[in-house]
Symmetry: C2
Subunit: 210 residues, 2 copies
Amino acid sequence: MNLPPSAEKRSDAFMRILEAAAGVFSEAGFAGARMDEIAARAGVNKATIYYHIGDKETLYAEVIRSVIGNTAETIAREIQNIQDPEEKLMIYIRTFARNIDVNPQVAPIMMREVASGGKHLPEIVARDIFRIVNLLSGILKEGKKKGVFLETIPFLIHIMVIGAIITYKTSAPIRRRYDWIPPAIRNLDDKISGNIVVELEKLILKAVKK
Amino acid sequence: MNLPPSAEKRSDAFMRILEAAAGVFSEAGFAGARMDEIAARAGVNKATIYYHIGDKETLYAEVIRSVIGNTAETIAREIQNIQDPEEKLMIYIRTFARNIDVNPQVAPIMMREVASGGKHLPEIVARDIFRIVNLLSGILKEGKKKGVFLETIPFLIHIMVIGAIITYKTSAPIRRRYDWIPPAIRNLDDKISGNIVVELEKLILKAVKK
DNA sequence: AGTTAAACTAACTGGTTAGTTAATTCTATG
DNA sequence: CATAGAATTAACTAACCAGTTAGTTTAACT
C-alpha cells in the first residue's frame, strides 16, 4: 500500500483499517461497502474508524489516495533516466501494469470511479491521474519530434493502455465463471505484468511507430 | 433500447420502468440505485415495479439484458457480408462504438459489472459477450490465414478495443470536472463513434497487421 | 349497467446501516 | 504509583430502503 510522504508513521489500527477498507471498497464499491464489514476485517470496533479517520466518504477518499495517489510519481521515477522514447513508452506501460498487479484492489476501484464520473475522486488524486496522461503525452511528443512516432491523440493512447490493463485485470473472475468459456480465454494469466504486458507493449509500440 | 425478440410488445409502464431503471443503474450502480428513485423517474408507484417485473435483482438483470443482450447479434449482422478481414475488423470496432454512443447507459453498467466480477451478470448475457470475443477471434484467425494479420492473443485485442471504447466514453465527466485539465483533453469529443473511433481503428489495425 | 380481472397506489413494515455516545481500558509521564 | 490523555468499545439511535399489503381505479367484456 502506497502512503503519502506525510503519512509515513501511522498507528497500527489506522493501517489495518485502510487495508481492510481498500479490500471491501474494491469488492463492493462505495455504495455496496459496509462500515461494519470494514471494521470486522480490520479487527477493530466500528467507532475506531470514526475516531481515527472519519465518515465513509473520508475513509474512501483516504483509500483512493493511498492506493492510487502516487502512481504518477512511480512512473516518473522509472522513466526519468531513459533516453529512447520507445523504451520510455515500454517502461510506462510496464510500470503501470506492475502497479496493478502489486496492488490488486486498484483496478476495480479505478473502474468504478470512472464509471461514476469520478464522483468520489479527491482532486489531488485527479491531478495525479492527469499527470500520468501528461507523462505519456511527453513521451509521444518527444518520439514524434525524433521522428520515431506518428502523430496521435495522446489521451486515446493513454485510454488504450490503462483501459486495457485495468479491464484485463478485472476480467479474471468473469473469465472463470462458466465452464463453456474457451480454455484459450479461461487459462490466460491473471497477472498482467507477465507475458500479457509484453504483448500489449508490442501492440501499442507497433501502433504508434512511424 | 434493445428488446429480446420475445418481448416486443410490452406495456407502456413496463417500458418506462426499464428505461428509468437503466438510467438509475447506469448512474449509481446496483448497490447505489434506489427503487424509489426508479419508480419516481418512471412516473409509477414503486409497487408497480414489483407487480410488472419483480425485485431489484430481477429488474437489474432485465435492464442488462435489454441493454447489452443482443450486441453480438448486431455486430454479426454487420460483418457477415464483408470478405476482407481488415474491413471486418474496422466494422467490428465501429459497430461496437456506435452501440455505445446510441445507448449511453451501457458503458457505465458494463464497467461496474466487470469491476464486480460479473456478480449480477445473467448467464445469457455472458454468453452474448463471449460471442463478441469469438467473432473477433474469427476475424483475427481468418486474417492470419490470409497472411494479413500477425499472430496475436485475440482476447487481449478484444480488451484493448472494448476497454478503450467504454473507458473513453465514461471518462467524459472526469475530463470536464476541473478547469486545469488541458484543453486538448477537455475538448475531446464525447461521441466515440466520430473521429475518435476512426483513430482507434487505425491504431488497432496498424498493431495487428503483418 | 354489472361483473371480473388486471393495473395501479398510499401507506406500512421490518431489517439494515451510517454514525454517535458514554463508559472503559491502555499508555506515557512526572 | 497516580493521573491525564489517547485509544478503544458495547450499545444505541435515527434514517433509510427493499419489499408487502390491502385496498382503489381502470378497462374489457357480456
